[in-house]
Symmetry: D2
Subunit: 448 residues, 4 copies
């Protein structure tokens, strides 16, 4: 009966995780703040990716995938224009701290990095960390912690307002510690640093590249927590999230003088307005809650010209695959018919997509047990909790579950200063070590 012995060894290894994670805290904070200073939008995380790749190499990952190896080229959704990508590459990516060795790999929007740690026979575990920022101008008031501490964004109008700087730091810390205890692990760990999570654009291209094939367990995490959150904690809910599809639509009509010859036009304004109303009027669904939103429209050139072009940005969501597919198909039908009704043509461009996700109870329970019992981390069990809204982590989840594996998406809770996507968002930096402990702990649990 050596279970006791194993128990002992395990106790020791969890103790080591705790100790190393706490020693690593200053470095985690340094990494996080550096990334916070230089946020980069989706598909333009060029400096970020170069830093990640360099760090993973140094940690001793057996393999570090960059550039075209990471995301399948044609599966990348919502890509900026070539001009934007190149401009960013030339200007922003060469900012201080970028690693010139890895930078060229990212040119043209090939961001994201995957580090692989191979420890012989055993299960394959994937951890996903998202790395992109948001088009938000960071709060400049001293009451905002990053501003007060001098690490607020130096890029006007771009901000890590969703905590992905923290996610990246947690991922790098986790890689460092696990690489250092590789002799105690049996199996493989993939550290997936995913680009373009905002707008749910990046995950599909990683899955399509095959990186989740053969993965047995996948985990992801998100910073969060009300301002009233008393103590930093790991939150494990059901990980439920809505499937979604995001479109950009162009209606092309024909201009004409609105007084002299209105009948000569093909009015893209009427097509757009008809589409907007009817999209919002798509029936509710008994098979799962749904959403639809036309969030942005620009149409027409001048007051006295029949509108010849309208641009529309929308999304639909569904709490079940079926409900989301219903919205998707109905929305396309509405848009095409609205165009046709007014003699216009239309182009529908897919800009992002995510699937439904749900945690596997078994993996969730193991995570809870490790955190609570082995790592002495406070654990909360929110009724729902998890991805919330839509998350393209769901693509990874779906692929792994489909091949019989398990998934868990958990919350890294601390007293955040504002809602995510707010110009005042900030998490508590103690969450960084908590995150590292949790990921390292579950790795040991799964691969010991």
């Amino acid at each position: 009966m050596d279970s006791g012995a194993t128990g002992n060894v395990n106790e020791k290894i969890y103790g080591r995780i705790i100790e190393e994670a706490e020693l690593l805290e200053p470095e985690l904070i340094r990494i996080r703040r550096d990334l916070h200073r230089y946020p980069e939008l989706g598909w333009m995380e060029m400096r970020t990716s170069s830093i990640i790749a360099s760090y993973l190499k140094e940690c001793g990952c057996d393999q570090v995938l960059t550039g075209r190896q990471v995301c399948r080229e044609e599966s990348r959704m919502g890509l900026p224009s070539e001009e934007e990508l190149e401009r960013h590459y030339q200007e922003a990516a060469f900012r201080e701290g970028a690693d010139q060795a890895y930078l060229p790999d990212t040119r043209g929007g090939f961001t994201g990095v995957i580090g692989i740690l191979r420890c012989g026979e055993g299960p394959v575990v994937a951890f996903r960390f998202d790395i992109d920022a948001l088009p938000i101008l960071e709060c400049e008031e001293k009451s905002h912690y990053p501003t007060r501490e001098g690490f607020a964004s130096r890029v006007p109008g771009v901000m890590h307002a969703c905590g992905h700087d923290g996610h990246t730091a947690v991922g790098l810390g986790t890689a460092k510690i696990l690489c250092g205890m590789r002799e105690q692990l049996h199996g493989t760990v993939k550290f997936i640093f995913q680009p373009a999570e905002e707008g749910v654009r990046g995950a599909k291209s990683i899955v399509d590249q095959g990186h989740l094939d053969g993965v047995d367990y996948v985990l992801g995490s998100h910073m969060g927590g009300d301002p009233e959150q008393k103590t930093a904690a790991i939150g494990v809910g059901n990980g439920e999230s809505m499937a979604t599809v995001k479109y950009d639509v162009e209606f092309h009509g024909k201009g004409a003088h609105a007084a002299a010859a209105p009948e000569d036009g093909r009015n893209a304004m009427l097509a757009m307005a008809t589409a907007v109303l009817n999209l919002h009027a798509i029936p509710r669904n008994s098979k799962g809650d749904t959403r639809v939103n036309v969030g942005r429209v620009t149409a027409g050139s001048g007051r006295n010209v029949i509108c010849d072009h309208a641009h529309m940005e929308l999304e639909v969501r569904g709490m079940s695959e079926e409900a989301n597919a219903f919205m998707d198909a109905y929305a396309e039908r509405v848009i095409r018919a609205a165009a046709q009704m007014h003699g216009c043509s239309c182009k529908i461009r897919l800009m992002g997509a995510a699937k439904n996700s749900l945690n596997d109870a078994a993996l969730s329970e193991r995570l809870v047990k490790v955190c609570a019992e082995k790592l002495c981390l406070p654990v909360e069990r929110p009724e729902k909790g998890g991805a919330g809204g839509s998350e393209d982590y769901s693509y990874l989840c779906e692929r792994v579950q489909r091949q019989g594996g398990e998934s868990c998406y958990f919350m890294n809770l601390s007293a955040c200063s504002a809602r995510i996507h707010s110009e005042r968002f900030d998490f508590r930096e103690e969450a960084l070590t908590n995150g590292v402990k949790a990921f390292c702990g579950i790795a040991v649990e799964l691969l010991r």
Copy 2:
């Protein structure tokens, strides 16, 4: 130089017209009141047609066309159902006064009569008189002349509220007098008693049957006049009328429980509402004034059932053929796209149509001259005046003008008690003889 002599002869013949028309007044009033008592809706003018045919025969017309000879079967628009036609045939058509000899010809909606008077070589002149009534409940107050005099409609909900009883009486009186002076005429006169003018449904089928082929002159007339109209008069304007198309539309969707499974439905209500708004939003037209109206809708079966069927009655109009065709094509596109948008099918049924019309100045001037100088009739020259709205007389007009002939549509003015299509509409009976004089006069002018 026998122009003087001809002048004399002509003076005499016009004098005779005046005299005979005035002698005929009691009979005209009797005929008109009889028809007013028993109004019949379009394609169901069965009793009316039998009386007309019998009268024309008696007058001495060379040929009296009835039944299938008059209207081309497949060109009849907006036909009532077979049940309605048969029910009317069985019940109403056999009312007192119907001529049993001619009644059978009308069964199945083959109403309308054409009398032909052949007087040798010469031009062919067609006069058009419309004979149908409206689905209106006649005013029962004593202040309404027909009620006071006891000749108000005996058919609840059906009324001669557009003066077609008068038109018919004028037509019969004209036929009687002209038949009596056939030896002074040189050419042919066609007395066309047209069914189903309301809803502009009947004229096309008469034209399609070929009755206007070879006609050199065509004239029609309408009762009218404000209550302030001082004296009964002939009004000759430009005869302008709008082209129009009338549709009935059925949207077919699929019902479903509105709470339990709204996504299972295909919502014909949304298709209908989208069509209504977008039909009214069809662009205005610089090539001619236009109109559109969805006048009636019935949709759905119950509050908590997704609507599976919607019925819509609409019309479009245009002051030019081009503008009307623009409306027609655009409306069809809107309807089909609205159906498709919500997964419904749709059926569009043509219920009526008319063309633009415009009087020929030459014929108008001859009419004015005859009325004013030969018949001592007061003549008014309204700026526009004529068909007004839409009139399927326009089909006759268009065919005759296309083959090089001339058309004139004039007003038979008297102090009417209310707007046409009002439950209180009534014209002054002195207009009956005026109408007979004008038609006889222009016949002589054209065929002497």
Copy 3:
């Protein structure tokens, strides 16, 4: 320790319930078929009410409330017109079988009956049975059981397609048995036969009359079950139902000739169409699933007349009180603004309403235990199950729960031939005795 003894006594009493219910089966079937033959719409259950009252009297209820005693006059929603009520009273209510003694009480739409059985000190229990039928033409094919057996509806276009004939029979059977064992009960039983459940119109007026004041337990039940339902059973779920509000809306505009003076109209058609689209576009709600449906519209009089009046029937629903109130307020705002937009006035008439409901777990468990252990009834525990859609039983539920009482709405399952509200709906008659057993059993459980 006399629990054993009580146990014994109880065993006996349950055995007696089983026995009596089974003996009663032919009578239950007879009652049900009689009601099925003569279905009556909401507020017109005059014959039905007279039969119920007579039967309850005969059973020995201490009090039988009828007419104005049952429903609060001004709280009755969706009442037919006075003409319809009177016509039905004169014609239909006097059909064979009606009890002339009680009939006059129902005149003017005062239907519904409450029987009260008083058995001394103890809790007050209310059972609710709904009694109205639907405006559906019953299937005339022999494959439809009621048709084959000769008890299909004899009233064209009216049908018990929701099983309320069965509900009523179960209620009467329950009253008969419980009245017969009154000496073993301690407390009060109210047998509430509610009118106008369809359209959720009747319950509020019973609650407003105070009949649920002081009630400790309330139960209701509904016939149901897929065609594949293997065996008749009692189904106890969570009893969840959606709150709802039903409206009739009248838009009043102004007619005008659509070609001659469209600008003189105030177009109620455009107001209606705008309302329809925008009602269906009311945002979804994160606080509870919602529904909206405009199920019926009639608008306008003629194709060429600007529509002067539109009638619209709609409903909104919400899975939470908050979500339903959101829909209610938004819908009213949409309707009023749509009217105003096109210069129309509007009238909104409340036609029905229900609240959310949810079973009390304690009462549900007691019911399950009694059915399964004492009455040998098969019991199913569907995940949701219960009212489904919306039920105005929710008014009774809410009142009782608000005063600290408990509610349970359960399903009386059997292999039904079609969905409820279908022209082919029929339940299996063995469900009748099952229902009687369940109601009698829970009464004994609560009042022994």
Copy 4:
């Protein structure tokens, strides 16, 4: 009898006009090309106004009004923001050629100039010349005459694409010649150089300032002509133009996360779409042709945010004052109701307005006669012709006609290279002398 003598004198004076205008041609071309190089948008014609004022002074006008004297401050519609006005003043207005003496008067959008020539007793005649340019990028191909000849716009995105550079040159040439023959004139001539005609924003403020009070005759002119126009000519039609009102609308709602809490938003997108459809569905009008166009919309900030703000630019027009007022009032009602429907507020800002206009036949005939008989100019009489579309000249016309004076708006025809408002528009420069001749000729005709 000195009519002969006067005739002679007149013949001489017309001959002098012809001669001087032709001598002036190179200067007219120089002025026109200078203005064409430096086009300025409405209310920012600062360099332009300074040049006009300086020239008029030099010509010898008795009075030159500039700055706040010209346009009533609070009547200026569609004014750019203060920032834009100041930026233009600082940068663009100081471009080469600007007259520093007059420039300061224009600061803050006080552009426009009026020159007054007083020649004793006699009628008051006003000539109106509009001076602003359009936000259009001028064609850069050599096939475009101004580009080939090197006088294309040097201001990217701003272009004299409506010929106002020519109008201004004609006005200055006319002033120069008439000032030189002041001793032969009897009365007063006002040379009104109006800002901000595009968008019909400037005329009202000139009228409101009182400059048209007491004016007996007013004339204006516009460059025009098909590419096929054979010879440069003066075109005198009926001067008919549509009344119009232009609005900018802001809908203010409230943002919310489109998935997490859609019910918390107040959706300005739905308000906008409802307004667009219903604006285009405003009924047609029997009292005059109408127009409506929502030409530009921008709404919302992000795909997954309920839209909190929508901006809409629209215009309505009417061929009669009544029809235009109907559109104006209906449009405002639609916009306000659409906002209210979705819980939004709205602001409607008047951006421009014009009235109907119609030439006085008497003045038109005098102009035709002078051009044809005295000035040897080719004259065309188009059936309609004149302002076309909408023109705020109509404000001047209406004021003068209201006080009993006469108005004539005529076309200065030549073979234009493209439609007005096209990036390829250009008139033939021979039209410049034609315009000068016509204005000088009618001045002599009216004031001799």
